[in-house]
């Protein structure tokens, strides 16, 4: 990878970040209403009191003034105080991130690992039962709403068989920390949401890997490797798979923001207090600082993940940086 390519991508990323930061300020304010409306719609309030409330929320100043104040605070690393939690935004967000990562990273790891193995196998045994099953399940999974599948799991495992908890993150009363009962409780609570999320993930990755592998295995260099009499496992993993990884890397890179962003539907059904729920909550209550904080973190991770993906891509395929 050349230094010029790296610098060009770095510059583009910096510009993109500035655009993201600016949009992050203006988008919440484009939404109808404002965070103080709950208070100043009180019919008993005088006009002076209404203006005072607007001032308390910093909404009395011109938008340009608010924007520069936001940039200034951001530069100092301050995301402000949540209107609804009455706590620093960073404190609220940092309490959610570990839970979200525990859930989404587990589901992603299972999805990626399962998807790669299954997809590669289906491609290698093309026309076999595994491939047919994969294609059939891809149709079924794409037609099956996540919430419906999650509720089915809850009904079966939590209410009929009573094996697993229906919702929540930990059994009440357990001491928090790195102790076995606590971790086991978290794992028990995470099982159903992880499975709900991982199912569609496995199938999605498997289809991607299968398609990519089919493309690659029909290439001349794979045929050559086979003709040389190499072990089929070596041909699959050393020759074909590495080349089939390019679209996979892109997809994994793009899914990184989802790991932090959480999964709104799954978090709602299982009462999993992650970032997805927090974003929805902030939007519903028009909690500008919290909306800005959550969206900024997500956007930053997405932009950085794209940057990293481009760098990895360039490493894997040297032709990329020439374009």
């Amino acid at each position: 990878m050349s230094g010029a390519y790296f610098m060009r991508r770095l510059f583009q990323t910096a510009v993109l970040m500035f655009v993201v930061i600016t949009l992050n300020f203006f988008l919440p304010r484009v939404m109808p209403g404002d965070p103080a409306r709950h208070y100043y719609e009180d019919p008993r309030l005088s006009e002076e009191a209404r203006q005072e409330i607007k001032a308390l929320f910093g909404l009395d100043k011109p938008l340009s003034y608010q924007y520069f104040a936001y940039l200034k605070n951001l530069f100092r690393g301050e995301l402000g105080v949540s209107y609804t939690y009455r706590r620093p935004v960073m404190q609220v967000i940092s309490s959610r991130i570990p839970w979200t990562v525990a859930l989404t990273a587990s589901a992603s790891l299972i999805s990626i690992a399962g998807g790669i193995i299954y997809g590669a196998y289906a491609a290698w045994r093309r026309g076999g039962t595994a491939e047919s099953a994969l294609l059939a399940s891809a149709i079924i999974v794409s037609a099956m709403p996540t919430f419906w599948f999650a509720l089915l799991l809850v009904m079966l495992f939590a209410f009929t068989l009573k094996w697993l908890p229906a919702f929540g993150m930990v059994t009440p009363g357990l001491a928090r920390g790195l102790n076995l009962p606590f971790l086991a409780s978290v794992a028990r609570h995470a099982f159903l949401p992880v499975v709900s999320m991982a199912l569609s993930g496995i199938i999605g990755y498997a289809v991607l890997v299968r398609n990519s592998m089919i493309d690659v295995t029909s290439e001349d260099f794979v045929r050559t490797a086979r003709a040389k009499g190499l072990n089929s496992r070596v041909v699959l993993y050393k020759h074909a798979f590495r080349n089939a990884m390019l679209p996979l890397v892109t997809r994994i890179g793009l899914s990184l923001s989802g790991i932090i962003g959480g999964a709104v539907i799954i978090e709602t059904i299982f009462s999993w207090e992650g970032m997805g729920l927090l974003i929805i909550e902030a939007s519903r209550s028009l909690d500008y600082p919290l909306m800005q904080g959550t969206m900024l973190i997500l956007a930053t991770i997405t932009v950085l993940a794209n940057f990293a993906t481009d760098l990895v891509y360039a490493q894997l395929d040297p032709r990329v940086q020439l374009k």
């Binding site: 209403g33 009180d42 706590r87 409780s185 794992a187």
Partner: protein, 550 residues
């Protein structure tokens, strides 16, 4: 070697999950001697499901239902309020007196009251709380304390609230909404608006024993509370973000009560199939929140009472309640005050739909199809298309559909515009509408002033000053409503409120569509004493006081 970390991660993950799902260890063999009779530690623990977390526990800044639920138990106010009788009852204060023609309210506190940290509650705490709320300018309390000059200490257990002007609602408003906080804690708070108060110390009947963010909260009975009215030892509030999972958990016996309004379809299913849902009960309580058709009286032809009255004759409340609310609703008279309210005027029962009478009224008032296109025009000959604004959710959107169909049947061209709640409110406040669906409630009698007084419909800064979005204006009504707000004699006060309903019934400014019930779902296998209260259903203070384990 490169693959080892990934492999280890996978193994750990699988192990953790398998460990998590593993069956519980076998129970050890029973001891030789019979154990003492088991005592259910949860026998007096009421398990309640809530849809949201308590994000902060600042009694002056909390906005959500769970937040007010908790602060309502943790903090005391000077007075309580019996909503059914419309009467005040003792709270932290044992007695209260109105002095100087209503300009001073005197409260004498109970001498046994203590905060949960053991310190006694004195008048100094109450004086501090009122002055603190006023000075800190908490947005939600600006209107409440607007009439207060200051709180003054009389003696260790007595305080006066000095008011700018006498108001009939002051005792209720100030006595029941301002939580009394411990001065020794709150006087040290530097930034009261940003104080989340996650370990609240109050003098209420319960204290917050445990809170895990986003998961659950445990309230523990303070048996030393000066009024000690609760048999429950604990109330555990569990956050369930999804209503379906909450309902399934109630059916499975994991909760005693769902603290939210249940969908009528679910309630109907449970009521029709009691065998399928043993011990699960539905409580439907009349509410005072009425869905109405609101007219913008500033615009033609909506400023014509005959036109408004004709539309009112198209609304078949019984049919709408049956079809849209599955029977979980009540008809509402044109006076708009619910029969459960202490000031209800029974001279104005619900009006039956009569499309023929509506047609006749329109003909008589000059709304005829002069052009022969099948649609009526205004008496001036102008084209008429009634546009009904509604929020884009059922049952309101179905009401709008129904109205459009009924209007078309009598020759009035009509359409409806579905909007988000926020957009609808903006159009109403602008005021940029002719006809709009609007929910109003008179559970607080003062609202009869705020919805109808001329001053509350004036347009300042491009928006309507108050809730009188349609611009109702009547000098006589203004005089009566102002007198009502200043009236301290209870009988005269109620009489004035009844007079106001007479006026409301005659102007067809808000035409009632129906009043939807408040529906709660609960289980009756662990506790007795559930009380279905108008406006609240079974999740109410009386229920909590009455509940006893079975």
């Amino acid at each position: 070697m490169k693959r080892l970390p990934l492999a280890l991660t996978a193994v750990f993950l699988v192990a953790a999950l398998v460990l998590g799902c593993a069956p519980k260890p076998a129970t050890p063999p029973a001891p030789q001697t019979p154990p003492p009779a088991p005592v259910d530690p949860d026998a007096r623990n009421l398990k309640v499901a809530v849809l949201s977390d308590a994000r902060n526990l600042n009694p002056y800044m909390g906005m959500g239902s769970t937040e007010t639920y908790i602060t309502g138990f943790v903090y005391d106010t000077l007075l309580g309020y019996d909503e059914e009788k419309g009467e005040l009852r003792p709270g932290l204060a044992d007695t209260w007196t109105v002095l100087e023609g209503g300009k001073v309210l005197r409260f004498e506190l109970n001498k046994q009251a203590k905060f949960s940290d053991g310190k006694p509650v004195t008048a100094e705490d109450a004086v501090f709380s009122f002055n603190f709320v006023k000075q800190a300018r908490f947005p939600g309390f600006m209107a409440i304390t607007a009439n207060v000059i200051e709180a003054v200490l009389v003696d260790q257990y007595t305080l006066d609230l000095k008011l700018m002007a006498p108001q009939s609602g002051s005792l209720r408003l100030l006595g029941t909404t301002v939580s009394i906080v411990p001065k020794h804690i709150w006087e040290g708070i530097q930034s009261p608006l940003n104080f989340p108060n996650l370990q609240p110390v109050g003098s209420g009947p319960f204290k917050l024993a445990e809170k895990v963010d986003g998961q659950y909260m445990v309230l523990e009975n303070r048996k030393e509370h000066h009024r000690h009215q609760y048999d429950l030892e604990k109330i555990t509030l569990t956050v369930v973000r999804d209503e379906t999972v909450g309902i399934m958990s109630l059916l499975a016996g994991k909760f005693d009560l769902l603290a939210w309004r249940v969908d009528p379809a679910v309630a109907e299913d449970v009521m029709k199939n009691p065998g399928q849902y043993p011990n699960v009960k539905v409580a439907a309580a009349p509410s005072s929140s009425t869905t109405t058709v609101m007219f913008n009286l500033r615009n033609e032809p909506y400023n014509d009472i005959n036109f408004r009255k004709a539309i009112s004759l198209l609304i078949d409340q019984d049919k709408l309640i049956k079809d849209l609310l599955l029977g979980f609703g009540r008809t509402q008279g044109p006076g708009l005050v619910a029969p459960t309210m202490f000031y209800y005027n029974d001279k104005f029962p619900a009006v039956k739909a009569d499309p023929n009478a509506a047609k006749a009224l329109l003909d008589q008032a000059g709304y005829k199809d002069a052009t022969g296109d099948g649609w009526r025009e205004t008496p001036k000959g102008d084209q008429l298309v009634v546009d009904i604004l509604t929020v884009n959710v059922p049952p309101q959107i179905n009401v709008a559909e129904y109205l459009v169909a009924e209007l078309k049947k009598i020759g009035i061209n009509a359409k409806f515009t579905p909007l988000t709640a926020e957009a609808l409110r903006n159009r109403q406040m602008a005021p940029d509408f002719d006809v709009s669906l609007f929910n109003l409630s008179f559970s607080n009698p003062d609202m009869m002033f705020f919805y109808y007084h001329t001053s509350r419909g004036l347009i300042t800064g491009g928006r309507v000053a108050g809730f009188n979005y349609g611009g109702h204006s009547d000098p006589n009504y203004d005089v009566i409503s102002e007198a009502m707000r200043a009236e301290l004699n209870r009988d005269r006060y109620v009489e004035l409120l009844k007079q106001m309903q007479e006026h409301i019934a005659g102007v067809y400014y808000h035409v009632p569509v129906f009043t939807a019930d408040v529906i709660n779902m609960y289980r009756d296998d662990r506790f007795t004493g559930w009380y279905n209260q108008p406006e609240r259903s079974v999740s109410n203070a009386t229920t909590y006081r009455q509940l006893r384990p079975k």
